[in-house]
């Protein structure tokens, strides 16, 4: 039996609330399948499974908050299944699985409900077993839950004008956003405090002439539809990933010693409009084309903002990039996300007088910084690494 545990989605995560099981006992699961939805400080996360087998007992009820590392379900490995084949034939899996959850909950599971509606119901302690859904196939929708919430609320408050319904709905939505914003704030606070307490940072900076890279980008975008257009961020990510291949000491974690990481998974800082940040990973960015990186950004940015990411996207980053973008601050010095050992900061692009080979011209420049963990690397490595990023951005055809 393999134990499926509540995963840690970052150094700052202590627990999570199981919102919904996405697989049922008897289902075959393989690596990468989404097995559950868990509410964390970073939003509603789809949890992936890393083993292959048949899902057995579900040990945790939906709606329960459990600590990181808690065994949530058991997965039977293929070898075990082969050995027990005869038994399985005699005893269908569905019957064999011992449910620890009450019959009432089992009934609830049969009731169709959209993930968003389930989340709102769990957050607001609404028993949705009695609600009649108005969605497709009788599924309970967000609107049904909000209506139930409004009715619940009205036991306490007199008056049922349409306007009040609408106001209450807006209020509920606002409360959900506010509670998510607050928990993200706390998650950022915990991670950054830990970083500041434990990691001796060093900082270095380099000016990069972006003229060639931006010209290359402009040419590339001419032949693309609006939807396929590339943003400068995709070039910055690829250049960083390629430079990391040359400087693996920066693509690592520090845990009583330096542990190099095989994959280069770039954590890309996404700012939330309501405050706070989320850092989803772009997996193996060094092996991706610029178009693939842009596609990854188009996929993860909206999901990060909607607080709907997968567990691997939150926990797999091996290094972080923060990118100020247009019109903002010229330089950004990052705070390392532990246990990583480096964060790269790209400032906004600016026009500057730029001297090269004794000639002065106006160039579009980006200031790139590295905040490095001095336990892991020294400024010299950091400096060579920034020069390598510079090399790739000066020769965009290499990207």
């Amino acid at each position: 039996m393999i134990e499926f545990q509540m995963p840690s989605l970052g150094a700052d995560m202590e627990d999570g609330t199981l919102v919904a099981w996405k697989k049922k006992p008897g289902d075959f699961v393989s690596r990468g399948d989404i097995i559950a939805e868990v509410e964390t400080q970073k939003g509603l996360i789809e949890i992936e499974v890393f083993d292959q087998g048949i899902l057995g007992e579900l040990l945790i009820k939906e709606g329960t908050k459990v600590a990181v590392g808690t065994v949530m379900a058991l997965i039977r490995e293929k070898s075990e299944i082969d050995v027990e084949k005869e038994v399985i034939e005699l005893q269908p899996i569905e019957e064999k699985v011992a449910f620890e959850i009450s019959p009432k909950i089992t009934e609830e599971r049969k009731q169709k409900i959209t993930p968003l509606a389930r989340r709102i119901a769990v957050e607001n302690n609404i028993d949705f077993s009695k609600i009649i859904g108005t969605g497709e196939d009788g599924a309970i929708t967000k609107e049904d839950i909000e209506k139930a919430q409004t009715l619940k609320y009205q036991h306490f408050k007199i008056g049922n004008g349409e306007e009040k319904f609408a106001k209450k709905e807006i209020l509920i939505k606002k409360e959900i956003i506010e509670s998510a914003t607050e928990s993200i704030r706390m998650a950022v606070a915990a991670a950054m405090s830990k970083s500041n307490k434990e990691i001796p940072h060093y900082y270095i900076e380099k000016k990069i002439d972006m003229s060639k890279a931006l010209k290359w980008l402009q040419e590339a975008n001419k032949n693309r539809t609006v939807k396929e257009r590339l943003l400068p961020a995709s070039l910055l990510i690829k250049a960083t990933a390629l430079a990391l291949v040359e400087f693996p000491d920066l693509n690592a974690t520090w845990n009583n010693g330096l542990q190099l990481k095989k994959e280069i998974n770039i954590g890309f800082v996404v700012s939330l409009r309501t405050g706070g940040i989320i850092v989803p990973a772009i997996h193996q960015a060094n092996t991706k084309t610029i178009d693939e990186i842009m596609a990854a950004l188009n996929d993860i940015i909206p999901r990060a903002r909607a607080l709907k990411l997968r567990s691997s996207e939150l926990s797999d980053s091996t290094i972080t990039i923060t990118n100020i973008g247009e019109g903002g601050a010229e330089t950004v010095f990052g705070v390392i996300y532990p246990p990583q050992v480096a964060i790269i900061g790209f400032g906004s692009s600016i026009e500057l007088p730029f001297a090269e080979n004794g000639m002065l011209g106006i160039r579009t420049v980006i200031k790139v910084t590295l905040a490095g963990d001095h336990r892991a690397t020294d400024g010299l490595i950091g400096s060579r690494f920034l020069s390598s990023i510079n090399k790739y951005l000066l020769n965009p055809e290499l990207l």
């Binding site: 402009q218 975008n221 001419k222 539809t225 609006v226 939807k227 257009r229 943003l231 400068p232 961020a233 700012s271 409009r273 309501t274 950004l297 940015i301 973008g325 247009e326 019109g327």
Partner: protein, 83 residues
Amino acid sequence: MKEDELKKTIYQMLKEIAPDTEPLNLKDEENIQETLYIDSYDALQFIVALDERLGVEIPEQDYGKVKSIKDLISYLKTKIKIT
């Protein structure tokens, strides 16, 4: 399309991209991106939305011509019929 309808559509698109802001308070001459704190990613989504809803594909070299509501409307007037 009438100009006030067009303006309404633009405000709607901006509200979808930056839901916590009030695009209606945006002055015609103000820089849209800076005033509503729209980052480069969302700015591209706005350009995509203009293409999808109005059928106007704004080339990258024209981004500078659509920075305010006033400029954007004048630009769109050269591409679609506005009464």
